[in-house]
Every structure is written in structure tokens, then in C-alpha cells.
Amino acid sequence: MLKEKPEWLRMLFPWEQKALRVNGRTMAYIDEGNPEGRPVLLLSGNPTWGFLYRDFIRPLAEAGFRAIAPDWVGCGYSDHPRIDAAFTMAHHIADLVSLMDQLKLRGFVIVGQDWGGPQGVGAALQRRERLSALVLMNTWLFTGYVGKFHSSPRPWTTWHAPLIGQFFMKRVKVLSHQGPAAVSRRGMTAEEARAYHHVFDEPDSDHVVLTWPRTIPLREGDRGWADMQAIERRLPELGGVPTLLLWAPEDNVFPVEYAHRLKELLPHAEGPVLFANAAHFLQDDRGLDLARATVEFLDRTVGVTR
């Protein structure tokens, strides 16, 4: 069912890729650490996959947690259908809800960055009673504020414009093949860069890289507008959930203003704890430090036992 992981990748990412059927498609995930421990869902965004969280797995497992890093449908080792309707925000959320249900996760923690934020929180709101804590990094859950990067035509809105987007994103693969390495602060090895992009090597396998930018809600009527508003409206339900904001202020996609807006909406949240020398993919730049902060926060608030 799953593609075989190449040998060179096993050196960097030794964990076994497991799989489930969600909404008729295969969703890959790794599931490591204490199976009885509190489940921590590590959610990546565009255009990455579970590999982004590789520095989180050992610290979480050693602290007694159960680390689960799924790949969104369209990413990593999950199915890569070439169908827009499989990549709506609602569909991604329903995919994660299905994974949570099938793994019977209770008392889980959502760790989300980029699209992992709204999609993870969207799914958690569907299973609110089973959510125990939230860790959000360089993401957003609202429509009211749009930063410069997302609204500016160079390069973002041009990169994903109709027809033009097909050329840049899918033919030239500006994001899926070059994105993570291009903004890395610590400098990636060629193998690490390849780990991010080899899952998008097949032609047309990177459809999600195009649909996600087109889902960013800039104005009413945009693809993701209604869903993002639904999430924002329901944020008060998270009032009792221990929440931590970890932030890379040097990220130009989600600068620290986004963290401040999140803090207004989730006033009980801790942080934002700022991490310098990290850009948009902060888990890659400063993975171990973020993992340590996450473990410390979870130990202090919800603990490792459910």
C-alpha cells in the first residue's frame, strides 16, 4: 500500500511509516514512543511531511509520550490524488478526524505549524472532549489579519495564480522542490533537502502544494474563508485547554504579529516563546530546542499519562 522508503532516507528518518484508509485514501503516519502514553499529534504544513518533526520523535518518546506524525493526504508518504476536492480544508480536517477515530486517540495533544494549525485545531474541535493541550508554531486560526507575505504578489500570489501557478508550482516546483531548503537558517544537507522533495518527484504529485496557497483566506469568498471563520468562531471553546505558542519571529510568512493575534483570541495561551535563528520551518532549524520546550510544557500542564 505504501511506497518503499529509500535506503538513504532511513539514515535520517528511521521510523516505520504506517498507514490507514481515511475518506477512501491512504494516510501515512509514524507512531513511536510509549503506546500507553499521551498521544502527541505532530502536524506539518505546506509542503512538508512528518520528516519535519524528526527532532521531536526521540525527546517525546524518551519522555514517555506517544509521538504520531501523520502526512496530510497529498503529502509525504500519503496518497497524492490529483483532485482539488480532496484538498479542501474541510477534507483535510475530516482526514485527521478519521485518523484520530481509527487510532482511538484520547487525551491527545495537537502540535501544529503552518496548515497544521488550522487543520489540527479544526479536527480537535470536532473531538473537543479528547483534546488535552495545544502547541502552535508559526500558524494562524483567523481571517482578520493578513501579513505582507500572503497578500503580496511577489512571489506569493503570483506563484499560485491561475495557470501561472501551474507553471511555477507544478512544472518548476518552486515550492515543493526548493521551498524548505531555500529558507533554511542552519543550512540543509543535500540529503535533507531531498528528503523533503523526493515525495514530490512524480509529475503532478504536488497538487496539494498548489491548492493550499489557494485556500489561504485573504478575503470573503476565498476557498478557505468559511472554514477558517468557523474555526475562529469556535476558539472560545478552547478556553480551558493548556496552550503554548512557540514562534520563529524571523519567519516572513507568519511574523510575530500573527502570534499576537493568536494571543488575543486565546488569551490563556503561554508565550509566544521566541526562537531566533529559525525561519518558517522552525522545527527543522531548531527542532531539539522546540521539542524540549514542548516536553517541558506538557509535563508541567497535562502530564504524560492520560
Binding site: R21, V22, N23, G24, I83, A85, A86, T88, A90, H91, I93, A94, D95, V97, S98, D101, Q102, K104, R106, G107, G122, A123, L125, Q126, R127, E129, R130, A226, A230, R306
Partner: protein
């Protein structure tokens, strides 16, 4: 195939997943023409509700050839929820393609059926996906000597017990009990009619799918509807408590012609709002629990009398381990507590229908149920032909245990009057 026009509101709570698509439909022009003839247009979208109560859409596009040349079939599911089990979708699509074959002069539906059989397309539950409680768990139940009977609904075995003769009195239990809950009411009511007490799927002696997503409000309603059809019940007096009422009221709205009376007790039909602290507390507790200790829970919930150990154990009998409890564990979160929650819209549609029903309604209600207290007033306003209030004093949520014989007496007197 009955095509319908869903409201914009309903569609806004759903998402559309493409299930079948054909970009060059005109490879078989006669099929395109047949579909065009049947739906009445060559471009646009029609919807229908399937046997499984799911909503589907067929979209036709005319790409300039003068007849439909592209077709897509969508499934419309609850917006953020996993879609229904694949075998339900397969079976619905099968019904659809049989309709297509029926409409197209050059296709033969029986050929389609044969091809489907060849493809192994039969809605079945894979091995290990359904548990069946061993019969010896039900040996020597105090006060419940009835021989179980079974019917099959959608490949699942549904159990019920039956006593007496005459018009059916269908009594539905809820979370987290089973037919055993009605044991004090069966003998007195069996003198007034044919008492039928089924176990919901996931409970009692009925089959128990293991997966969370096998259970939904919709699937419970459907299973109950099929149960009623399988037994051919008519002129039914419906008695429902807790989820038994929530499911029963939906079934009643779908086929009111089969019912002559309604007894709703300690139950509700959520239109998508917060039903109060009592329920929300239970919902959170149950969703965090790994397993429910039912004998203990039932002992503390029954107020007027003390359950013996053997009686309390009977409530744990259907569940040899936590694996068997999926249905009980998911039930609290299937209650629609927000307007966009699965089932909320269907319930509002059902409520509109219930308002128009003239059947006599009796509402025996506990004065000390922390969960469904406010619902009595709501249901009282809903039905035009409702009997005066019937308060069961110092009874808790499971009033069949607290005051079973007493309520049965009230029901018999009320049945004689109506």
C-alpha cells in the same frame, strides 16, 4: 430515483467528495442521452438521497457537443467528519448505476448486477470488524427470561425480545443500556399489546461494529427504520427513553404512517444547541473514559431502589471488554450540540415534521434527571395532542428502573383512552 433540491443551508454544512467522474461521457452517447432525458437537462446538478440516507449529487456538463459530455457524482458528507463506511457508499453507487442502466436503452441492469457480483461488490463487514457478545454472558439474567430473536439489518444481527399480541408496542432503550432496562414494563404492557424490545446496534445482544465511525446518528436511525420494516410493524406505539427517543423521533418523522402513539421519556431531539451542564459534563467524562464501568454507573444512577449485584451485572453483560463498548463510548458525542454538528440539520427537518403530527403523545418525565430535564417542556410545546404532565417523583435518568411498573400502568390507562 427521486431527485430533490436540498436547501442552501443544508449544503453549507456538508462537503462534496467526488466519487465517480467521467470526462468524455459521449463515448457512449446513448447513456448521456438517457441521463439527460431522465434528469431533464444537459448541464447542472441534481441531488438524491440514497437508501442509506446519504446525499449525493450528479453534475452534468455540456462541453459544447449538444449533449452532456462530462459527468461527476459527488457524495455530500458532514463537513468536517470522516465519510460513511465505504460499503455504504458502494451500495449507494450501485443503486445509482443500476438506475443509469435502467435509463439507457442499450444497457441491461441484470448485466450490471452480474458484473458487480463478479467484482465482489456486496456490502459485507470484513472479518474482525464486528463483535458478537457470547451468549453465555446472558445466562441467568434476573427478571429477563425472554428468548432473544434476531433480524439482519445491513449485514448486522439485531436482537429483540417479544411478548404478547396485538398492536406493537416498540420500546427503545438508550445509552448505555439495553433491552434489559425494560424488564419491569414488559409483563404489564404485554397485556395491552405486542411488546417488542430491540437492542440497538452496539448494545445488548445485537452486533457491535468495532470502529467508531460505524456509528452515527444517521446510521442508528437507518438501522431502526430497517428493523421496523423487516418486522413489518404497523400501528406502532413507540416508547423511547434517552437515545431510544432521539432515534425513535427521527424514525417517526420519516414514516409517521406506521405509528399510532408516542411515549417519550427522559429524552430529546437536539437541533444543535447546548443542552445544558448536566449533559455536557457527561459528554466530556465519557469521551475521556477508556471503558465504562456500567454495573457501578447503573447502581448509582438508579435512585428509588437499589439494584442487586446480579441486576447491575446484567448491564455489563453485553460488554466482555472495552472493545465491545465502542457504540456506548461514541454515543454521547453523536448528540448534535452545535448547529453544524452532524445530525443537527436532520433533526431540525424532523422537528418540522413532528410539529404537524396529530398522534397522541405521553411524556412521563423524571423530576430528578440531570440530563434531559428541560426537554419535557420543549416536546410538550412541539406536539399538538399531548397528554397532561406525568411527573415521576424522585426518579433519575433511568426511570424504567426507578418506576417501571408505575409507568407501565400509566401507559396502559392512557392507551385505553386514546
Amino acid at each position: 430515483m427521486n431527485f430533490i433540491i436540498p436547501s442552501a443551508e443544508e449544503l453549507s454544512y456538508l462537503r462534496a467528495d467526488p466519487l465517480l467522474w467521467e470526462q468524455e461521457l459521449d463515448v457512449r452517447p446513448e447513456v448521456a442521452e438517457a441521463i439527460e432525458k431522465a434528469v431533464g437537462f444537459r448541464a447542472g446538478r441534481v441531488h438524491w438521497r440514497s437508501e442509506h440516507d446519504h446525499l449525493y449529487g450528479l453534475e452534468l456538463a455540456d462541453l459544447g457537443r449538444g449533449r452532456p459530455s462530462m459527468a461527476m457524482v459527488y457524495g455530500h458528507w458532514d463537513r468536517y467528519e470522516p465519510r460513511p463506511p465505504e460499503h455504504e457508499i458502494d451500495s449507494d453507487l450501485m443503486d445509482f448505476i443500476l438506475w443509469v442502466a435502467d435509463s439507457a436503452p442499450t444497457l441491461n441492469p441484470s448485466d450490471v448486477s452480474r458484473v458487480a457480483q463478479f467484482a465482489g461488490l456486496r456490502p459485507t463487514w470484513p472479518d474482525g470488524s464486528v463483535l458478537r457478545t457470547p451468549e453465555d454472558r446472558f445466562a441467568n439474567l434476573p427478571g429477563f427470561p425472554y428468548e432473544p430473536r434476531y433480524v439482519e439489518v445491513e449485514g448486522l444481527r439485531m436482537a429483540f425480545v417479544e411478548q404478547g399480541e396485538g398492536d406493537p408496542i416498540l420500546m427503545l432503550h438508550g445509552e448505555p443500556t439495553w433491552g434489559y432496562l425494560y424488564r419491569h414494563m414488559i409483563p404489564p404492557l404485554a397485556k395491552a399489546g405486542r411488546v417488542i424490545v430491540p437492542d440497538l446496534i452496539g448494545f445488548g445482544r445485537s452486533d457491535k461494529p468495532v470502529a467508531d465511525h460505524a456509528y452515527s446518528y444517521k446510521s442508528h436511525v437507518r438501522w431502526m427504520r430497517r428493523f421496523i420494516i423487516a418486522l413489518g410493524l404497523q400501528r406502532v406505539t413507540l416508547v423511547g427513553q434517552d437515545w431510544g427517543g432521539s432515534i425513535g423521533l427521527r424514525v417517526l418523522a420519516q414514516m409517521p404512517e406506521r405509528f399510532q402513539r408516542l411515549v417519550a421519556m427522559n429524552t430529546g431531539i437536539g437541533g444543535g444547541f447546548n443542552p445544558g451542564e448536566g449533559f455536557m459534563g457527561w459528554r466530556i467524562f465519557s469521551q475521556r473514559a477508556k471503558e465504562l464501568d456500567l454495573p457501578r454507573m447503573m447502581k448509582s444512577a438508579v435512585r428509588r431502589r437499589t439494584l442487586t449485584d446480579a441486576e447491575a451485572a446484567a448491564y455489563g453483560a453485553p460488554f466482555p471488554s472495552a472493545d465491545y463498548q465502542t457504540g456506548a463510548l461514541v454515543f454521547p458525542r453523536l448528540v448534535p450540540v452545535r448547529p453544524d454538528h452532524p445530525g443537527a440539520y436532520d433533526n431540525r427537518v424532523a422537528i418540522d415534521k413532528l410539529k404537524t403530527l396529530k398522534l397522541p403523545v405521553l411524556l412521563p418525565w423524571s423530576d430528578s434527571d440531570p440530563i434531559t430535564g428541560p426537554w419535557e417542556a420543549y416536546l410538550r410545546k412541539l406536539f399538538p395532542n399531548v397528554a397532561p404532565p406525568l411527573t415521576i417523583k424522585s426518579a433519575g435518568h433511568f426511570l424504567q428502573e426507578d418506576a417501571g411498573e408505575e409507568i407501565a400502568g400509566h401507559i396502559r390507562r392512557w392507551m385505553a383512552e386514546t
